[in-house]
Symmetry: C2
Subunit: 407 residues, 2 copies
């Protein structure tokens, strides 16, 4: 186990972040996962990291704050948090996010407090914008904690659930006994690259989604959109992998060019609450109505963060035979669940257009990309999902049939 | 056990910090002690705390940094740490320090890195100066961690050592099964107040220390010095207790009025290293030579931080029958060990003179008080320590005989 943990840590700093000599690394990590942050810190120093800076968090303390702190606290980001994120973003530090949280940590929290806190994130725009445009390398990974493992495997004991979730995670991130995870990832990334290259060649004007649970949606794409996936490049040209695992290829939709109905195919864990059985109608890009069997209030607040929160910002394709999907587990963690399913995000768009990484916010808006303080992925893929690509000359090309890539 | 932990947390926020409605609380805590920080956070919110802000730390990550980070890292305090400390200091937030560390965490670390880091603390002067002058309430407490417990009780198993150290700590902070720690502290604090009141009445010009291990020292006191101890008051007049436990009464020496030899009576743990068997010569206040059987290099660097580091900043009296002394354990933690023994500190003086809390740095220097970036307590009390007070008219009054208060 210790060897696999070390291999996972090495994979993260070498492939996920590709730490360069003299670079700083900011690790966000729950205090209960300190043992893993320590392995990552040591692995980073081995690559010549200048300094590892810890940004610890704790589910309990955070929940206490949301339940008991004074309400005005949620209208601002603390000056020290701003300094930690904005200063390191400007300096080009690498950011590692070790996500491990109780999926229902904010159950019962006043949704208004979550909304106010989301709105306050405008104060860390420097950090957010540089993250979205890949100015610095960043990587999101997860490790199990008991509250999360029990949500995924409720029928197991805590110990069994932890072990089972570790195994699912190791499988998803290609860490195996005696295996070389770094090589496995190089091969995997090149497959994803081929997929996005094929989509870029086809240069679709729009995609039309349909399936039997009610999704019927047309998504226009900006004229100069680019499909991306696998690895990305920071402003110095250093390759990194922003999500581990990652199975998707993705681009940005045309903000005002999305029309129809989306029915979610999996629950969504957003901001410590589970939203289930939901659907939305979109008109000229805007989410004009939402319904949810559970957590509707939290979904409504999530699309109210700002004007752009009610528009889509990401179109991502994941085949129904993705290894994460085949694991046949609902992870209650978007990092995994989005890699089991085609998905969209509402909120901010990544600059997935030609030259987008160097464009100003205004230029990106001009190019038809959505801007928002928020970015929330949600899953729509099903075993019968069909996606038809529509080219500028009206030609139709089947992209997905029965939930699978057919290109 | 859980009940005693809760009682300890309640004692800390009610008596140690005396949290006021609407006040913020900054808790510095090792990640491995999160369970206790959580209890303190909950207890603080019960008193109407506005927001609990966590400043986590980790022995392993910190040691890795001192061993492996780039050297220039130690010349500055990170902007976000400056913001966290300075902004909260200015706002009058309460600061809780949960200290739990391996006494030898920095064994083998280049002493120059520790020195550079101490010098860099000039960048958090705003915080340090407001702490020293009690602008905001602050409180230092400790809880056991395995590495520390094993240093204190090397012959025990880790589990036994943890249990034994918890018991010693509960005894020292007056937390007992079914007892009311808050009332016990009120009684204790009033005893200490009586002791400092008596010393203030006597208004000594100097103290003369002698014992059989070689200490022979005359310490002049500033004309308007004040003996303090037990509780203190922040700038709003709110009473708090800066150290738990606390058994001492203390004042500031006249910076240039200390002459003779000091022989330490206990090891000193400073900055993650143990310094043992040490002595120093002082002339006109300045430490002109030091010797140590172990850790001499670390001691030399500690008094080199700045000009004031080589002068005394605190004179503290603790009888040889203090409960901490009677526990008959070397804690390898100054918070406890200084309350087992008469001690001095080299480095910065608390403003223990009339009106000192409202004086500028320049006025404090003018009044004869030492100023420094550092403040390191070290123990000198023995069972045969004699201290004679010398009044302005030359009268001599015995203050300590055979290590005990005789006033």
């Amino acid at each position: 186990m210790q060897e696999k943990l070390k291999e996972y840590a090495r994979l993260i700093v070498e492939v996920g972040l590709n730490i360069q000599k003299g670079q700083d690394l900011v690790i966000a990590c729950p205090v209960d996962c300190a043992y893993f942050a320590r392995l990552c810190a040591t692995a980073a120093y081995e690559l010549g990291c200048r300094e590892v800076i810890m940004n610890w968090n704790d589910d309990y303390i955070t929940r206490e704050k949301y339940l008991k702190a004074s309400p005005e606290v949620f209208d601002h980001i603390s000056p020290w948090v701003k300094a930690l994120l904005n200063e390191n973003a400007k300096a080009g530090s690498a950011f590692l996010h070790i996500r491990a949280t109780d999926p229902e940590n904010f159950k019962g929290v006043d949704p208004d407090r979550l909304l106010r806190n989301s709105k306050a994130s405008v104060e860390i725009a420097e950090y957010r914008e540089r993250a979205m445009s890949n100015f610095f390398p960043w990587c999101i990974v997860s490790i199990p904690i008991p509250s999360w493992a029990k949500k995924v495997f409720p029928e197991m004991s805590e110990g069994e659930a932890m072990e089972a979730l570790w195994q699912k995670i190791f499988d998803a991130v290609r860490v195996a006994d005696g295996g070389d995870a770094v090589s496995a990832w190089q091969e995997h990334l090149s497959k994803i690259k081929n997929r996005s290259a094929r989509l870029n060649e086809l240069h679709f004007k729009a995609l039309h989604y349909t399936n039997s649970i009610g999704t019927d949606l047309t998504v226009e794409l900006p004229e100069n959109h680019i499909w991306m996936g696998g690895s990305e490049f920071d402003h110095k040209g250093v390759e990194f992998v922003a999500n581990m695992p990652t199975e998707e290829v993705f681009t940005a939709p045309l903000k005002t060019g999305v029309n129809g109905t989306i029915v979610a195919s999996m629950p969504l864990v957003n901001n410590g609450n589970v939203i289930e059985g939901f659907s939305m109608e979109l008109k000229d890009g805007k989410i004009v109505s939402v319904k949810a069997e559970k957590g509707e209030e939290y979904l409504r607040k999530a699309i109210e963060v700002d004007e752009g929160a009610a528009y889509l910002g990401e179109v991502a394709l994941v085949p129904y035979d993705s290894p994460i999907r085949l694991a046949n587990v609902l992870f209650y963690n978007t990092l995994f669940d989005e890699n089991a399913s085609c998905h969209f995000a509402f909120g901010n768009a990544y600059p997935c257009i030609e030259g987008g990484q160097d464009m100003s916010k205004e230029q990106l808006i001009e190019a038809g990309l959505n801007q928002s303080l928020t970015h929330v992925d949600f899953m729509v893929g099903t075993s019968d999902l069909s996606i038809v690509g529509i080219k500028y000359d009206g030609t139709k090309v089947s992209v997905f049939e029965s939930g699978m890539f057919v290109l």
